[in-house]
């Protein structure tokens, strides 16, 4: 089935089997392997990407459902010229990653929330809900919480 998906700002015409999940199409067809598969049943969140700005488990979505949509992956987080995203800087500063496998999912969950509403990062309960939505086995989560709060505090708040 032919679909058109805008991935990280670039429009891509793809011919995919209807049964293929978005994660596989991103990883195998688009060769964007930053999106990781940790459980393939929607629990761990490692595969989280943004579809039209909303955080989505890409292992639970068929690629064909994203026809005409805009998808953003961890590869699309950095600014033009490779300027690190505030979340990327904060994750490093707070040691919010060790093995790094779950990291893209946490980054995208947080990016979706903070980009929709930067004040989400000021509310401990909302930050807790973000961190609690994914699984990490290395860090114990607290550094991830601190990183999201830190990124929020450094977030550009002027209306664009």
């Amino acid at each position: 089935m032919r679909i058109t998906v805008t991935v990280n700002g670039e429009e891509r015409a793809l011919d995919v089997e209807p049964r293929r999940v978005l994660a596989d199409v991103l990883r195998e067809d688009c060769r964007l392997t930053g999106t990781h598969l940790g459980c393939e049943h929607g629990v761990c969140g490692a595969c989280t990407v943004l579809v039209d700005g909303e955080a989505v488990r890409s292992c639970l979505v068929l690629a064909v459902q994203c026809d005409g949509a805009s998808v953003r992956t961890v590869e699309g987080l950095s600014g033009p010229g490779g300027e690190p995203h505030p979340l990327q800087r904060a994750f490093s500063a707070e040691h919010a990653l060790q093995c790094g496998f779950c990291t893209p999912g946490f980054l995208m969950v947080a990016a979706g929330a903070l980009e929709a509403d930067p004040s989400a990062g000021d509310d401990p309960e909302r930050v807790a809900a973000l961190v609690g939505s994914n699984i990490c086995r290395c860090t114990g989560y607290e550094p991830i919480r601190r990183a999201i709060a830190r990124a929020a505090s450094e977030w550009p708040r002027t209306p664009s």
Partner: protein, 831 residues
């Protein structure tokens, strides 16, 4: 495909805390599943749906009709394949799974007569055991093919606990007992000691089976090229994998290269040569095509190795002043269906049975039983959590019986700092320790007195939820066992002034790329950005041992430090030859050789020369070798405060303090991060993680990670990590291993806190994980002081006699819970 993905360029690190961070944060990390190898086939395994049975029939033919399926083979099919064309290998049948002699994890005796086939030949011994391997052009096609394979298995009764395996009424291997290994440490303790002691605590503990659950499951990609085979795997011991694969494939070790790219966690579970790895490498060589296996989560939850799995019976005796007289630990260990990977692992528990106390008599026994479960293998802590939990739970019970502060009881019995090195009755030689200092820091950090006051207040307030305080002091072992206490490392200086450090270790998230170059740079006195690390590649570093047993900093780090020191000596020797002066006349500082006297113009014009110039002048410079280290014994004290809701059976940990001592710390931020993550895994064992089994021995995990509950952020209490630093005299850096502390120290602290809150008379009612069901029942049991002496509970039954568990409460429910439903009612709690 080369091993230099970790960045050959001089790194710009200022804006990143670790060298690993930039690529891992931008999606540029490269894990095995990310590799793009043209023509690569995906392997999928058809697996047994029963725990134990006789394979009667397998038919792969329909799979061949599926478009995109390249082949599907049972064990019989693979023994009938035509001889292989590739000269690298003289493949006959699919070889069996090798066993691990390292660290005495397995023994020749235990595996004799118990072959572990890569694919089932006639007998299924664990649920999910692989029957058929299917190769497809991609994962979807391979799974289409797997769905077409048919098989028939006649089920046999399954045994899934050590207690039921022990009586041999169902045997996994015909003609052989299920007891695959017996061992002991220390001397048997005379009955008079128990009889004459003022207090004797007896108890039984279940160390439930756990799933290590790294975020990335197991991976392997085998790429044959001519006579060579390159294997990519998320792995902790690439050199061992290389050696074992080469042996199994009948080829030369030199023709196999194993490369470990980014690895998504391991926690001990990624250091073996698994059946699936052998099938993949075998078919890659047979077909002359790249083949990969990317394990998925449900597969991992079914067939990846388990951790823990012990039924323990303990006796702890003390005099009226609380001085420990004797400790006995009897272990019935569940080692899974085959003894190849972990039959000897429970000996780690026996060797560490003494713990941090100067107990004069300690005796530990082990019976390792094969059961119809996937094999047990090291998981973060690997034998030491089981030792610490049994002893520390018993210590809190003893304190209660003596009416003594549990902290004071421990202080009275610690091995004092001046007694190191200390030979334990169970065969360990502890290198160094200051156990009281760790405990004192933990109590102070916790505000022990404040929480004791709060506990007292709540006991008089009928509306308050009960609160308890739990302590756990541990000592563990790091670095590995004799025969594996060495590592290979080298340092090479280049003409451009940069240096390459190579080491036989392999990182799976422990920041080696950051920590090791810093260590080498510090030793040399050069800028850290000049040094890069290459590890996890047998092509770059032909010999190595790997990263497990908390050995990388302690053993690998020491090896790199020594290699760097040798490089300095080499540079001085070369300069001396060049300048025709004695070596003693050449000094080294900041990456430069210079004459001791005079400097510029002295000694016939010799001037200071930097390393780059020296290499340009004298040729390539790479020094290194094999470096031996010693065992070390990290320790610590963990303390937890927990609040229990007796109506809901819920446990809320209000505070957790972990004080760990891993000697000299190379990088405090990294050690802190690992200690924190480890503590969270310890919380998982204490409160959440367990594998429920059905009547037929098959794990009840249909909902995957919704059935096996890993801690999420919602479950994380306030945790404070502190450290004391007692250097190890037996390792060159003074560093002891780090990162396993939380799994070892935390669980008992939490369980003790719950036991303290409930004041339950029979602590055996609290078996991990402390699910609401377990806690709710314990909350309704007699309280301490209500039923005479609690010590009598332990005497009600002999562990291992199935019928007794039911009487002692719902032990079976907490053991392989769910398997027998209400074990108490069934009257066979162990089954």
């Amino acid at each position: 495909m080369h091993g230099d993905m970790h960045g050959a360029e001089v790194l710009v690190v200022e804006q990143w805390s670790r060298r690993e961070d930039e690529r891992l944060l931008t999606g540029e990390g490269r894990y095995v599943a990310d590799m793009d190898v043209p023509g690569c086939l995906d392997a999928v395994f058809v697996r047994s749906d029963v725990a134990h049975g006789t394979l009667r029939e397998v038919d792969c033919s329909a799979a061949y009709e599926v478009p995109g399926v390249v082949g599907a083979w049972s064990a019989a099919d693979l023994s009938e394949m035509p001889p292989c064309a590739q000269s690298a290998a003289t493949l006959q049948d699919l070889p069996p799974v090798p066993y691990v002699l390292l660290a005495q994890l397995s023994t020749e005796e235990a595996v004799a007569g118990r072959e572990w086939p890569v694919l089932v030949r006639d007998r299924v011994r664990y649920p999910g055991e692989a029957l058929v391997v299917v190769l497809g052009e991609d994962r979807y096609r391979a799974e289409d093919g797997a769905a077409k394979v048919t098989f028939r298995i006649d089920p046999l009764p399954a045994v899934v606990t050590p207690s039921t395996a022990a009586d041999d009424s169902v045997r996994l291997f015909d003609g052989l007992s299920n007891v695959a290994l017996r061992g002991e440490t220390g001397e048997p303790i005379e009955e008079s000691v128990w009889r004459e002691a003022a207090v004797v605590v007896e108890a039984r503990y279940r160390q439930q089976l756990l799933m290590p659950t790294p975020m990335e499951c197991r991976t392997i990609l085998a790429v044959p090229e001519g006579d060579a085979l390159t294997v990519w795997s998320g792995h902790q011991a690439p050199h061992r994998l290389r050696r074992e694969l080469a042996t199994l494939l009948g080829g030369l070790v030199e023709r196999v290269r194993v490369v470990v790219p980014d690895t998504g966690g391991a926690f001990g579970s990624k250091s073996a040569t698994f059946p699936e790895f052998i099938a993949v490498a075998f078919l890659a060589v047979k077909l002359g095509r790249p083949v990969r296996w990317i394990e998925d989560r449900l597969e991992s939850m079914t067939v990846a190795s388990r951790g823990r799995g012990q039924d323990q019976r303990v006796r702890l005796a003390a005099d009226a002043d609380g001085r420990l007289l004797a400790y006995e630990l009897n272990i019935d260990a569940d080692i899974g269906a085959y003894p190849h990977l972990g039959v000897g692992l429970p000996m780690q528990t026996a060797w560490m049975a003494t713990g941090p106390y100067a107990t004069p008599r300690v005796h530990a026994t082990v019976r390792s039983m094969v059961t119809n479960t996937m094999v047990t293998y090291p998981y973060r802590g690997a034998g030491r959590p089981e030792a610490a939990i049994a002893l520390e739970r018993s210590m809190d019970t003893l304190a209660r019986e003596l009416g003594m502060d549990p902290a004071e009881l421990r202080r009275r019995n610690f091995i004092p700092p001046e007694d190191f090195p200390y030979e334990t009755p169970t065969g360990r030689r502890y290198d160094s320790g200051n156990y009281a200092a760790a405990l004192d820091l933990a109590l102070e950090t916790l505000d022990y007195d404040g929480w004791r006051a709060e506990r007292a207040r709540r006991r008089t307030d009928p509306d308050a939820l009960p609160l308890g305080i739990g302590l756990s002091c541990y000592v563990e072992r790091s670095g590995g066992e004799p025969g594996g206490l060495h590592e290979f490392a080298s340092v090479e200086a280049h003409e451009d002034g940069t240096l390459t450090a190579r080491c036989g270790t392999a990182s799976s998230g422990q920041s080696h790329e950051t920590v090791f170059p810093a260590l080498v740079a510090e030793t040399l006195g050069v800028d850290g950005t000049l040094v890069r690390l290459v590890e996890g590649d047998t092509g770059e570093q032909p010999e190595g041992v790997g990263s497990f047993a908390s050995r990388s900093a302690q053993v690998g780090g020491a090896a790199l430090r020594e290699a760097a020191t040798l490089l300095v000596e080499e540079a001085r020797a070369r300069a001396a030859a060049l300048w025709e002066v004695p070596e003693a006349e050449v000094a080294w500082s900041g990456g430069t050789v210079h004459p001791v006297h005079g400097g510029h113009g002295g000694h016939g014009g010799a001037a200071a020369m930097d390393l780059a110039e020296l290499v340009k002048t004298t040729g390539p410079m790479r020094v290194g070798g094999r470096f031996e280290s010693g065992m070390a014994f990290p320790f610590g004290a963990h303390a937890a405060v927990a609040e229990v809701d007796p109506e809901l059976g819920t446990v809320r940990v209000l505070r957790l303090v972990a004080v760990d001592d891993c000697g000299v710390v190379l990088d405090p931020a990294m050690v802190h991060g690992q200690a924190f993550g480890s503590a969270v895994q310890g919380i998982g064992q204490a409160l959440y993680e367990g594998i429920p089994f059905g009547e037929n021995g098959v794990p009840l995990l249909a909902e995957g990670l919704l059935d096996y509950l890993l801690p999420t952020f919602a479950e994380i209490p306030p945790i404070e990590i502190r450290d004391t630093r007692t250097p190890s005299p037996s390792t060159p850096l003074g560093a002891k291993g780090a990162g396993e502390s939380g799994c070892i120290g935390t669980p008992a602290a939490i369980v003790n806190a719950v036991a303290d809150a409930l004041r339950v008379a029979d602590p055996c009612l609290l078996q991990m994980p402390l699910t609401p069901d377990v806690v709710w029942r314990a909350a309704r049991a007699p309280k301490f002081g209500e039923v005479g002496q609690a010590g009598e509970f332990g005497k009600t039954g002999e562990f291992g006699e199935a019928g007794e568990f039911g009487k002692a409460g719902e032990f079976g429910k907490a053991g392989k819970f769910g398997e027998a439903g209400e074990a108490g009612e069934a009257g066979e709690g162990g089954r």
